[in-house]
Symmetry: C2
Subunit: 337 residues, 2 copies
């Protein structure tokens, strides 16, 4: 281990030190089978002695590969995306790949990511989670040359994996109908002008409403409550909803986060969960089980695996036609319903 080296040592220095050619050093480093064990050992020792680290930029430039992909998503602080990150990480292992996480947390980031040489595109492939590349970019040239797959959005331009959210809504409706009672929905208003909307909440709501209509019931406008995606707003809305219906009530929350707010407020109000107040959420986040929340489980592991498989196939075979894979959510009945 040398002290501060006066200049960065490159592959030529190593070659000279080991008495071989740069190509041999390269072969030894990249585990080519044609290099003899003795030479390899010799070269590796020179590398050790000189403290050589291959130039990252040159390596990538020449080989054209980074062995990593970028995961572009709206936020990272939700349990769903954390599970997705985990499942993608795991699925990448067998391909010897890595994922960088790029949360699109602000307009500023969105603006910077218009630049084709922004960091996320310095990888071999892209996964867009709940984000539509068709809307994200002024021109798709931005991500030119980097294959992409999309989660949660049906797009004709990219491989995509979606969950049948309408079915999820329908399953919730069907289940809650087991006990007739005033039926409320708690959802969020997605702003479709922004590129940050995937439409999943609308789909869940639509599935629920359609199923209610099919059963001759429907959802009255005053029974539909929308909230912001923050704890205080969700709590306030939940309180309002529970005050509106004093007696037995059924509630469909379009995500578990909203359901949590409902559970807390119901408890504070002393209303019996699963009896007087019945709740079905969506996502099956980790807390859901502890809290006994009935909810719709998304097959997150399968989503991650499929996204990775589609992307890796496309890396290997660029000319592939666009593929679309759909998964069904599954109703998990627990104590709140």
């Amino acid at each position: 281990m040398a002290a501060v080296p006066s200049k960065k040592v490159n592959i030529k220095d190593v070659a000279r030190h080991a008495g071989v050619q740069p190509s041999t050093v390269s072969r030894a480093l990249n585990d080519h089978p044609e290099v003899s064990a003795v030479t390899r050992a010799h070269v590796l020792r020179s590398i050790q002695e000189l403290g050589y680290v291959p130039d990252r930029a040159a390596k990538r430039f020449r080989s054209g590969k980074t062995h990593s992909i970028s995961l572009i998503l709206p936020i990272t602080s939700s349990a769903f995306y954390n599970r997705l990150i985990d499942s993608i990480d795991e699925a990448l292992e067998i391909y010897d790949y890595d994922a960088g996480i790029f949360p699109l947390l602000s307009e500023r980031r969105l603006a910077r990511y218009q630049d084709p040489s922004a960091l996320p595109y310095h990888t071999d492939g892209l996964v867009f989670a709940s984000l539509n590349p068709d809307h994200l970019y002024r021109s798709l040239l931005t991500i030119q040359g980097v294959p992409a797959v999309v989660l949660d959005i049906r797009t004709p331009n990219f491989d995509h994996v979606v969950v049948n959210n309408e079915l999820g809504g329908a399953l919730a409706a069907q289940h809650l109908r087991l006990r007739p009672a005033p039926t409320l929905v708690m959802s969020v208003e997605e702003r479709f002008e922004t590129p940050f909307a995937s439409g999943v909440f609308q789909e869940r709501l639509r599935g629920f409403t359609a199923a209610q209509h099919a059963a001759g019931l429907g959802v009255a406008p005053e029974h539909l409550f929308t909230t912001e995606f923050t704890l205080p707003s969700a709590r306030a809305t939940a309180r309002q909803m529970l005050q509106r219906c004093g007696g037995p009530v059924n509630i469909f929350a379009t995500c578990d986060f909203f359901a949590y707010a409902l559970i807390e407020e119901a408890r504070l109000a002393g209303r019996s969960l699963g009896g007087e107040v019945r709740i079905v959420g969506f996502d099956d986040e980790p807390h859901a089980q502890e809290l006994g929340l009935s909810t719709l489980r998304q097959p997150v592991e399968a989503l991650g695996q499929t996204l990775v498989r589609l992307l890796m196939e496309r890396l290997e075979t660029p000319g592939l036609p666009i593929r679309s894979v759909e998964f069904d959510p599954v109703l998990q009945v627990r104590r709140t319903s």
Copy 2:
């Protein structure tokens, strides 16, 4: 906008199309002042027509710059790190830089990040948040050539920014002593064998304990409760603590997350917050204000700004000596104490 181009168009194609030399195209693209307005316009039009996108890898290889840095942190799902990300993002703006987020969520990631050509090191600089590069790597050669700064850890090898956590603990102790009562602490056991420990919780605890001792009080071992970093564990521990002391009690939670659990359990048990049960947390997360939690505020914006400044200075002037900056936390008294 051409259809699917048979082959990727490069700077030579653009030059030929525009009737100039590659160097001129490069100059036009990189806003060199020496190129005439007419030529620039001409070149830009060719670029448009051909749908040219500069090769990311070649650009970086040649220029040696990515205009981005990597933020390496333990998790992303805590409010503190989200605020840190925001403040770093903001601070980077004036430098025309960008940050990639690399959460070290698993042993697998840690293992992959031993590779010097892993994605995080394909940037111009590194910020380690609550993570010690000295322990993270088998050899620091892994990050060779990429300047780094560290948050939360005093290390002789890197520029670092720390918060005086011991002072925070002492301030909490001093404040809680205003009303004499049995005094409990809720903390976490940091495992120092792993590279995932920064030591901040120990520091907070140490500061608290030292201050109590100095006041002739001390913290009895049975008054120190440790928990896991999960909601159910925190809730269970909180319940235990409140059951242990039926009457007036003072509690120092070494982070707001634990304090939330205490608040919820105190409410469920019908104990009066700020009266019978007094709580001081640490971090001043966003919820803290809504909940009226007394807590120690970390100057997150200043931390982010300072980290960025130190890193940018080092990028400009590689030979700089190691610098250390310390910030004091500030006690925010609200309703829980």
